[in-house]
Symmetry: C2
């Protein structure tokens, strides 16, 4: 294996490590909300420092590869995609922290199940996250494209949640504070879905050299 | 001027064009909220397609520079920073569209001035945007650092707005819908500030080769 291939594999493995951490963070943050699970929220906060450290390491590896090996064609595209995927993963990590904060505020509030279907939207978003990361690992263009089409379903569900939560707030002013936290959770999940879409676009760019951003339906 | 310098200048100029468009978008979106100015909101929507087009152009120029000239040291850092600044600018453009949507929903609502001080937080955020872009143009490390310290002030102000808006909602259920739109405006402005911080960090990386992300206070 050449020095370049070795370092490229190192970059790839670091991205996989980052992906696992971020995916776990999202899962814990959702569990913290749904099951009012304080320890799941704490795990998210503990993960954050590690994610931030790896983000800096990945950028360093990518930039070293550019500087030392002057890669071309698909190797160059892989590194540019790695830089972008890295940024998206780090933001997703931040968003899981954001959800974990809302989970903490919700712990002493009313039962959530009757108000809004968080597991439904969370399930959709987690599937998008998983597919976008699997598409990256397997260079799977079909899987990456399937992520792009899921984004609309998340947006509609988020809008439905918004209307349910507004009605819940209007019914009783004591509902306002918990509803605002739940609104934050659904909105943040939608942002997680947006980052999965970005990653899927980066995969398409890297594998096929095509730029699908801002095309029809965007 | 060498071919590389020529193309590097072209990339720099495109980023300036993008910056101007994004800054104008933010300004119009804020004007739309504060003055209930429908035409300012429309300008934001019209700007969006142009911003998306330039985003793709800038990435293309940056990747061509990497592929054709294999730049080193500060030239390489400039191109990596350009890729990252480009992403941040495009997101800021999206956020101005988000604010313009809230502005439209607020047009038939109550006068905003008495509820929450949008001009104060907007002024702070616009100053951060301006400074981060000026720091990029002038390679000004001191200016870039001043952006990083402003972020805390925006966060505190946003928290204060949150409490004011919750109190406003709790007073009368008819206040809930306009207050949610105003909450969206303040939260989105905070996100614009976060992107300015990211740009300031990219400038520090590019000019000095130092990575200030995730250091104390982060």
């Amino acid at each position: 294996m050449s020095k370049f291939d070795e370092e490229r594999e190192q970059l790839h493995n670091k991205l996989l490590e980052m992906s696992s951490l971020v995916e776990a963070g999202i899962e814990h943050s959702i569990r913290a909300v749904i099951h009012k699970d304080e320890s799941a929220a704490s795990e998210v906060f503990q993960n954050e420092a590690r994610i931030n450290t790896i983000e800096v390491e990945i950028d360093g590896l990518a930039i070293d590869l550019l500087a030392l090996h002057q890669p071309m064609a698909s190797n160059l595209r892989f590194i540019v995609a790695a830089l972008k995927i890295n940024t998206n993963l780090e933001r997703m990590g931040d968003l899981s922290v954001n959800i974990a904060h809302s989970a903490r505020s919700l712990i002493d509030g009313p039962a959530i199940g009757a108000i809004v279907d968080i597991p439904l939207i969370a399930g959709l978003v987690q599937t998008m996250v998983r597919k976008s990361l699997d598409a990256f690992v397997a260079c799977d263009v079909v899987l990456a494209r399937s992520v792009l089409t899921s984004d609309d379903a998340v947006d509609s569900l988020r809008t439905a949640c918004y209307h349910q939560l507004v009605a819940f707030m209007e019914k009783d002013p004591r509902n306002i504070r918990p509803a605002l936290n739940l609104l934050n959770v659904t909105r943040t999940l939608e942002r997680v879905a947006d980052h999965s879409t970005n990653i899927a676009e980066d995969v398409l760019y890297y594998v096929r050299g095509i730029d699908v951003r801002h095309q029809s339906g965007d």
